[in-house]
């Protein structure tokens, strides 16, 4: 019975990952909605708005990368709520009064979030292919796109975990994470930035999601990265480091009273 060292940290984390995934699997409503909603959004954009939006290419080829990022936003807000649920019930005191690593609890949530997102993203991607999405990407391009998406999801999930720790209730966690769903609309996800009014353009052009979307789009449609790759990588890495630190520090402090 050792409570020290790397092995213990790994074992604690594995236990908490098991827990979070089990809880996710049993929360069928949430899982269902987080897959269905992006599918509906994609159908809405492709079939309803798409005809009126000109992007110089088939609209579905333009919009799929944006939908993929929107999907991760839904997944992340569920993570914020799951963390807030732990923080506001007695569960957190139980876990914190056990001799375990404090980041194990949050890592469990984040890992479940990444797994959930991987599934919903895969489903959305398959559906998009059925709807006429025609990527023009080689194996390395796919690898690049998937790698960046995973990094983005990990970073966003840690941000969601931090919001869950800050939130005073599950409801406020849901509200706090609302902007994660909103930010993609102010990017090049659905329309080209050039079509936006002048005051909005600099924001949309330089917010973190635009380079990520441009990069994923560049990989998948074979239109090239135009230097956005490094910007996207920097944003995701920065967001990850910031969110991870914020979440773990706040987590330790919050429960310390």
């Amino acid at each position: 019975m050792t409570h020290d060292g790397f092995g213990a940290a790994v074992s604690d984390t594995a236990t908490m990952i098991d827990r979070s995934i089990r809880l996710t699997r049993r929360n069928v409503d949430t899982l269902f909605v987080s897959i269905l909603l992006p599918l509906l959004m994609m159908a809405l954009f492709v079939y309803v708005f798409g005809g009126a939006i000109s992007t110089g290419t088939e609209y579905i080829n333009y919009v799929v990368p944006g939908i993929l990022l929107l999907t991760t936003g839904y997944g992340a807000s569920n993570t914020a709520m799951a963390v807030a649920d732990d923080m506001t019930t007695g569960m957190i005191d139980r876990l914190r009064s056990l001799p375990i690593r404090s980041f194990a609890v949050l890592t469990g949530h984040v890992t479940a979030s990444v797994a959930r997102n991987a599934i919903s993203t895969a489903i959305v991607l398959l559906a998009s292919l059925a709807m006429g999405f025609r990527p023009n990407a080689g194996p390395l391009d796919w690898l690049g796109a998937i790698g960046l998406l995973v990094l983005y999801v990990v970073a966003l999930s840690w941000l969601a975990a931090a919001l869950g720790v800050i939130a005073k209730s599950v409801e406020s966690a849901s509200t706090l994470s609302f902007f994660m769903l909103f930010v993609p609309y102010l990017s090049s996800a659905f329309v080209q930035v050039e079509t936006m009014p002048a005051f909005l353009r600099p924001i949309s052009q330089h917010q973190p999601i635009t380079p990520v979307i441009e990069t994923v789009r560049g990989f998948l449609t074979g239109t090239g990265l135009n230097g956005t790759g490094w910007v996207a990588l920097a944003w995701c890495t920065g967001l990850f480091l910031f969110s991870f630190t914020l979440a773990t520090v706040l987590f330790r402090r919050r429960a310390r009273g």
């Binding site: 019975m1 050792t2 409570h3 213990a8 074992s11 604690d12 236990t15 908490m16 098991d18 827990r19 089990r22 809880l23 049993r26 929360n27 019930t89 007695g90 569960m91 005191d93 139980r94 876990l95 914190r96 009064s97 056990l98 001799p99 375990i100 429960a255 310390r256 009273g257």
Partner: protein, 299 residues
């Protein structure tokens, strides 16, 4: 002393919650922190279980400092909080195995320990049901079972029966009683005097962040005033005559007499009354209850 606290102080912003609390709990005993809402009971428990830091003062559990050696403290304690800390979407068994794995028992041993505890807390029949289907009493029992997975030396129970129906409360008391017999040290908080009276070796009465009294239930009862004898006579005339003989306070046909609670004193009183032909129709003896203690000391 397995639990020792000296001069604990804690404020939240301008609100002072603890104003210098000392505690000492011998190994194998049960201490009840008794007090109304807002007395500081939960704050004391949070400090002793490493979940909050005291502003001043220090505390040790089994010799480990709660601020400097929180990991060591967590290795010897367990906490059962005011709200059942169970995962509603995991089964009873899964909840217990999870805690066992977090205590690094290994998967097989964790499972075995879970089975033992399910048996001990009469939850075996419900072990494969999700905890959200459990009654309030079952949730609390599962909660307590989860805090016992690693056989802690000191168990903290924060209002273990608040919100339970009387039958579930009795079951919970029995479960706690079993732990006491096994020699576990228990520190519990409660608003119920009956609970403190029944479970605790020593009671610490807490009000507005200060200890207002402490001792055994009996000592506390003696402290606020003695026992009394009530004598019921045929009418108030007889009662007044008896008061003239013995002192005390006549109230209609009833005479209220201070007493030291011994049989000899009662015998002496009755002898005197018989000699004067003033025998009462009924006699009762009263000890102050913990409710009297509570109301007197926190008034």
């Amino acid at each position: 002393m397995i639990v020792e606290a000296v001069g604990l102080r804690k404020s939240f912003g301008p609100t002072s919650v603890l104003e210098g609390v000392d505690l000492a709990v011998p190994e194998g005993s049960v201490l009840a922190l008794l007090g109304p809402n807002g007395a500081g009971k939960t704050t004391i428990v949070r400090i002793l279980t490493t979940l909050a830091r005291p502003d001043e003062g220090h505390a040790t559990i089994a010799g480990y400092d709660v601020v400097r050696e929180p990991a060591k403290v967590r290795g010897v304690i367990s906490l059962t909080g005011q709200h059942a800390a169970v995962d509603d979407n995991q089964t009873g068994l899964e909840n217990l195995v999870m805690v066992g794995r977090l205590m690094h028992l290994g998967h097989g041993r964790a499972r075995q320990r879970a089975q033992e505890l399910l048996e001990q807390f009469a939850l075996t029949g419900a072990m494969n049901r999700r905890a959200k289907t459990y009654s309030g009493g079952m949730s609390r029992r599962l909660d307590l079972a989860m805090s016992l997975v690693a056989r802690p030396r000191v168990i903290f129970l924060d209002e273990p029966t608040t919100g339970l129906d009387p039958a579930s409360r009795l079951t919970m008391w029995d479960a706690i009683g079993d732990l006491v017999r096994d020699g576990t040290t228990i520190l519990l908080t409660t608003q119920y005097l009956e609970e403190a009276d029944r479970l605790a070796d020593r009671i610490v009465l807490l009000d507005k962040g200060r200890i207002t009294a402490s001792g055994t239930a009996d000592a506390l009862k003696t402290q606020i005033g003695g026992e009394r004898i009530e004598l019921y006579f045929a009418d108030e005339v007889v009662a007044r005559k008896a008061a003239g003989l013995l002192g005390g306070l006549a109230d209609g046909p009833l005479l209220n007499l201070p007493s030291d609670g011994t049989a000899a004193h009662l015998h002496h009183v009755l002898d005197q009354l018989r000699d004067e032909g003033l025998l009462p129709s009924r006699v009762s003896s009263h000890r102050p209850t913990l409710d009297d203690v509570f109301l007197t000391l926190t008034a």
